[in-house]
Point group: C5
Chain length 329, copies 5
């Protein structure tokens, strides 16, 4: 799907432009054009970008192929940005997925290319259609708003993961379930992935904010610095969350260790209580103490009561002793 | 609540200024004005900041919304600082909380904005009311004193946590309770949070101390360097404390391991002592050794005494052997 | 084996050049020459490089001996690159192996030296033979294509290892086999090795992309930047994979710990159920309760039924108790 | 206690100076004055520093209050150094303590301030009294010698800790006592503390060695570089020692794990040997095999000898089997 | 022992120089002199260095005392290098030892000082005696060859340790012996020590390779860069080896954990099989089932065969169940 949006120099908004009209619009730097290409066949996209916009073949290849790592290339009359965004509605149980968004931004036009529907971009598109003021700022203003929406999605996602990890931590103290562990490692992978994305994306915004690119003009710098601050904060949050997954694993191991300890204590207490008196019972079960063996004393009533007493008192004494050692807590 | 404080050029102090008076005061750079906005409705604050002080919309948005990460922006005629402070009276059992404080500082005025009561700021306010000499230093002196009080609060807090962790360490060696563990992880989270705050705050002070901003004048540099030193030290302390939580977890695991070891030894000792002699008792409980089975030798007195001797001597021998192996320690 | 490839100034391709022809070709900077030396005797190679190309003895020594660490040296009229490539078809069960490739690149010639067959180089060679356009870019274009093929091999390899590690992770949750562990450590070693290679290789490409070397011309910079991006991404992937091997070990330890815990619980449950009632059985096996010992009450029917009831009810009660403690899950 | 030392321009040494004499001495830059203030009341020290030496209030406050982190401030006509030294005679069982030493150094005077007796300073004082050549180098030479003595103390201390840790390591392999663990954590804290001190102290010396301060002159640079090398080495040693405490904890855990393993093996061997034959004994203890029960075969002689043989051979066989599994090692 | 070697301007080699001859040789910058001082008394060495060569007292002190950390000091007319070398024949079971080698290098002379026999230096000495071409390069060429030999020794040593660690890894998987652990920690200490040496040594070579020192001339830079590459590679290898010792410890712990797990499984299987049927045997050993107690049914033949069947079938069933749980693997 290719959709176009154009404000002419006199502030009029057009959304359906033929190829011819578009070429006309592009010629006049007073106009502002936004072309969004979503999930188009490779050849179609390639033709549009090379023929109508005359972009460099290498920059088109970068855009049409998955590049994975955000970057910005300066091609003189236009910038080529490779960005990654996140869909905050995705199911967090699975892997965290980010989508590539390629942006060409020139003096008075912006071309966006993506292969799946893109929430932040759609929100921006709708907003710009409604509020022509955004268009007053020219192409950099379009880019600023788009980046702002993308940053919001990332922050939303990070807050969700933070919430989930906090919950997991509490849950682990109560019940160290190993299925939680599997979930935890999924998040860890996701955070590794996010860090790998956000680091370079932050660098891209740093370059925009420093005003490395003349094409964007000086006024836009301040706005990009604002988004740069968002990504800076985001990176810190991701690092913190990664640190927290480490803590959470430590908690898991400590709690499992604790449980094992308590299981072993139970085993030891039971063994300590019953093994000695079982031996005593076994002792008097020996066939030496048979009627007529001359061992009458051993099987007489007084001995019996002494044995009985030992069998009752020994465990009681052991319980006291063990309790003093703190094993019953 | 909005409160104002003003020293006129002739050294007089006024605390109740109408909106009109304030505008007048602002016009004369000889005057010194401090406006403190606490927990005001958004619109009210926004109007004051944009209409009376003519601050940039983006800087106002930064101040009125929670930004979380300290920073300083240079807007030419004024600086906009986002700072975070800590309330040292808070209950440390829960999460460590820090509060945002936004400061606009110009040539001859300072505007502070915060949404909850702010201890360090209140102390500074009271101090300045009493001691007009602070005002002699102009707006930078106000800021210096405010930052100094904030640094004191952080250092107080860090010292408290250090004390608690030391105590916890000692306690763990005596009794590795798992509730201590839960507490420890709460502190770890708190320290992560503090580090995330203090790192950028230190950078903000570094910029002030380096004299990056002309608006503050050259004389103030030395004072800000002093506070920068405090935050540098603070950052080191926090890192140290984080390292200590790691040590403390190691202690916990070592002590739990030790306990488990001692539990297992007890179990093994009991089993080693009683299982062999229990077998012996069981052996002589077999029905081969009945009267009239032709096994009279086995149930005769001498055998009995030999068995009795074994039953007494075997455990004694084992105790010696085990003791030599060091399991009874 | 020494093979040569030459485009003369008029665009003709020659592949069989005598030593004399080569010398002639080298003299005219309009020609483009590629000499590939594979597994030749040391002296033969050395003579060719020193006599025909007049390379510096130190650079020849660097090329002919194994250097292990990628680097680029600027010798004025030519560059000497030490690179390492990977054969993506190798068996990953063993150690990851990389091969050294030494490249001399001058104004209008490229000399490649390697001691084993080199897949990426062979692919490049075939490609260049077919597509003369590569030759239009001169020596830098040859180098660019060669490096591009090498980067592809590394990325292919990294993706394979990623896939294997993910599989291993899932497998460990199901069955923590210690043979998996041995495999994991082999991969860890391999990743350490790859990191050691790719770090410096990335630096080499950074230098090429920054245009440090005049000999390569300005146009080539953009292409080398492209490959530099590949290696940058690759380095991040390798670091991520190393992080994942750490996670995988953590998973292994957690799962083994879990298993041990469940084994201990079984032991404790069995002991808890049977040891007390075994004692009871032993108690009534004592010889006090013989006919005619005056203990008739103890061996009477009612007592028997009470004992029987205890022997049935005690384990049932314990099962309930243990279940409540969560040990049967 | 305040003590003074003065070399007049004509090389004479005076140690008892009245306040008046000191003021006179200070006026002539040909003289060299060293004033040492130890454990004086706050007001007394403050008066001396501000009235006689005219130091800046902020630098005096830095000196008189505990600052904890070494630093050097340049106040134009004098430097203000905050240093920390160590008393190598202290009891290492407790926490490692360092003492603050504040130094003001000017063109021809040095003022040292400390609140407890200071070994390195005392040694320097005695030395300078005896050897006037030190005084020839002026104030920088005094500072150099003082710093040199302080570095020696630190290195002595580090060597002691190294020795103790090595001993502890050997001890742990023989007997993993948990009291050693407590000691180990005390050292770890101490090393954390030392690192926190030595890092900034090294930076201070780096500044002195680089010749950042004109007041010290150019000739002194070489000497300070010498001490800077000492502190550089010291920092490396401390980092190494910290690494060693980590190793030592690993050793402890490994050895404890090993012990536990050997305890569990003993338990398992005993259980494996005796539980099966105990069952056998129990089996023949059942009342089925009574005289007149028609089970005469079961209690006959041959069966008895078979049982006896099993009871002897089974454990022997198990011992062989277990030995093959390597559990008896 | 002091030995001297001298090439006069006309290319003649002398090895026995009297003190007088040496002074004469030193005066003519056309000559090349190498003086090697090994294990001489302190005073002797000191006199030679200060009187004949006029070196700075501080540089002589650095050389004659053990400095431990490699460094290079520029004293204008000569450089003073503190280096450390390794004897590759040393017994690796003990601690890794490195020896200090101090080098003074001037325009046309080199003085080496060491307290024990030095293999790399001896090899260099012999080489230079045989091959006068080395001398053609002047003092830098001597230094280059010496450093090259030293680097070879370090690389040899690192390769040996790598081999040993690989072997240890394989051994641990087969038999996790705790004596291996002790050995492993010895290597870890050794690697820590090597890293502490090689890091600064690399820096020294970096300075030589960058051409910081005019005394060495420009041509030598290229050669020192070659050795710098060796030390760079060496540092990476050492870091890798350190990482491997960490892995090896992880392997040890995993394998020990595995063994413990298998021991516990055996214990649990034995207990699970025999404890229940032992109870059953104990049950029928109670004195309720005596002749004439009216319990004839319980001791009748059919019951006996049922009990016998249970005693056989229960363990068999358990074995199946346990096998399904995977405990017998």
């Amino acid at each position: 799907m290719i959709r176009k949006m154009c404000w002419t120099a006199d502030g009029k908004l057009k959304t359906n432009l033929s190829k011819k009209e578009m070429t006309a619009v592009l010629k006049d730097p007073q106009n502002l054009l936004w072309v969004d290409i979503c999930d188009e066949p490779y050849d179609e996209s390639q033709r549009l970008l090379s023929e109508d916009f005359k972009f460099h073949p290498l920059s088109i290849a970068d855009a049409l192929e998955e590049t994975h790592i955000p970057k910005v290339d300066n091609w003189g009359e236009y910038l080529c940005l490779v960005l990654r965004s996140i869909n905050p509605d995705q199911d967090l149980k699975g892997e965290v997925k980010t989508d590539e968004l390629d942006v060409f931004i020139g003096n008075h036009y912006m071309v966006t290319y993506h292969s799946v529907a893109h929430h932040a971009l759609d929100r921006t598109w709708q907003w710009v259609l409604k509020d022509s003021r955004t268009a007053d700022g020219g192409a950099p203003a379009l880019l600023y708003r788009l980046l702002d929406e993308m940053a919001d999605d990332f922050i939303l996602m990070a807050d969700q993961i933070d919430l989930i990890l906090s919950g997991m931590e509490d849950q682990l103290f109560d019940n160290p379930d190993s299925s939680l562990l599997e979930e935890l490692f999924t998040y860890k992978r996701g955070l590794l992935h996010l860090r790998q994305i956000i680091g370079p994306q932050r660098e891209v915004l740093n370059k925009l904010a420093r005003g490395d690119f003349k094409i964007l003009g000086d006024e836009a710098k301040m706005y990009f610095r604002d988004i740069y601050d968002h990504f800076l904060r985001l990176y810190e949050i991701i690092e913190n969350l990664r640190d927290l997954t480490g803590s959470t694993l430590d908690i898991y191991l400590s709690v499992v260790n604790n449980r094992m300890n308590s299981v072993m204590k139970t085993l030891t207490v039971i063994t300590t209580l019953f093994m000695p008196i079982s031996f005593l019972a076994g002792f008097f079960g020996m066939n030496f103490f048979k009627p007529g063996e001359g061992m009458d004393f051993w099987t007489s009533g007084p001995v019996y009561y002494v044995v009985l007493a030992i069998m009752v008192l020994f465990p009681v004494a052991m319980i006291f002793y063990i309790n003093r050692k703190g094993w019953l807590k």
